[in-house]
């Protein structure tokens, strides 16, 4: 039986074929989908902030790009994934609101989350196969452990598989 498992905000989960991972309403957060296509092990993290280094309140590793990716990889390895086979797809990182030039750095958090995610994946030597990031709209994503497909749904910006 295929189960659909929800990944909340600042949360991460790992599943094995045939289960599906989903996270609803990604805005400035980034969904990081990692996949071992031989073992069909899929992991999904929903991160909120780029780095655990800059914040005092950092007890939840799934909240930050750096610690979430590290933990997600570890949990996939625990399930039998092999690091050299893991690839990534990412989605999210929107700027939902804008205030012209007056916006604080916080308004660019989506962009910063995306950049940090890419840097950390590169440092971990995990290739990014595809991405749907940026813009100013929300996304719901579904990650299929059978195929490694990442389905991206939006309001008014269509549906696509990346």
């Amino acid at each position: 039986m295929q189960r659909v498992i929800k990944v909340g905000m600042a949360d991460l989960k790992v599943v094995i074929e045939p289960d599906v991972l989903t996270t609803l309403g990604l805005g400035s957060c980034v969904g990081i989908a990692l996949y071992d296509k031989y073992k069909k092990i899929a992991g999904l993290a929903h991160i909120m902030l780029p780095s655990s280094q800059q914040i005092k309140n950092n007890s939840n590793p799934a909240k930050f790009a750096d610690t979430a990716i590290e933990l997600l990889i570890q949990e996939m390895l625990n399930q039998g994934a092999v690091l050299s086979r893991i690839s990534a797809k990412i989605a999210g990182g929107s700027q939902m609101f804008s205030f012209g030039n007056n916006g604080s750095d916080l308004m660019k958090i989506g962009y910063r989350n995306t950049v940090a995610t890419k840097e950390i994946l590169a440092a971990s030597k995990i290739p990014i196969l595809s991405e749907d990031t940026g813009g100013n709209h929300g996304r719901t994503i579904e990650f299929y452990s059978e195929t490694g497909d990442l389905l991206v749904k939006t309001i008014g910006h269509g549906v696509k598989t990346i």
Binding site: M9, A10, G25, N60, S94, H137, G138
Partner: protein, 205 residues
Amino acid sequence: MSFSIDDLNNLHLDVLREIGNIGSGNAASALAKMINKRIDMAVPIVQILPFEGVAAILGGEEMVVAGIYFLVEGDISGNIMFLLDIASSKVLTNMLMGREDMSEEFDEMDRSALQEVGNILCGSYLNSLSALTGLNLKLSVPSLCIDMAGAILSVPAIQFSQTSDKVVLIETLLSEGSYKVKGNFFLIPDSNSFDKLLESLGVYM
């Protein structure tokens, strides 16, 4: 010492509720003047929730909602978000423009009207806060986004997440005849401003 939302006690909640009450009252009067009709208001509900719980209140992460976001500057800095479901948004724009449009589409006029209502409501709220605390507070121009609740809420959630995993939510119910408008205010002081705010209200621990 830095104060976090986790440290809020019942007294703080009462104070926030009272500000919500006065602010919503002023907002309702402003709205009533604008549309020249009587507006009733229920006592606001102030809640502190883990951010995972917020989307559920609005009908789930994928529910389409309207969010109007402001920067707050002056003696304290932070943000205010005013969030409405689509039905309430339509009721508000219909009230303002004196028409009965039942579609769920929002054209430029609707969007502009929504931003203006948000501006009046959040402005009234902030003025109450300013009057009570003696703090000088300024509101930026509004920025509107109509999209999935989860995506819109990610913006205040990210801000809150730097200091806490919880949010302060003030739920206001305005009604005009049989039309009901349910609005949610999120008060998001920057981490250092929270102490200052509570201190100005005389309830800092």
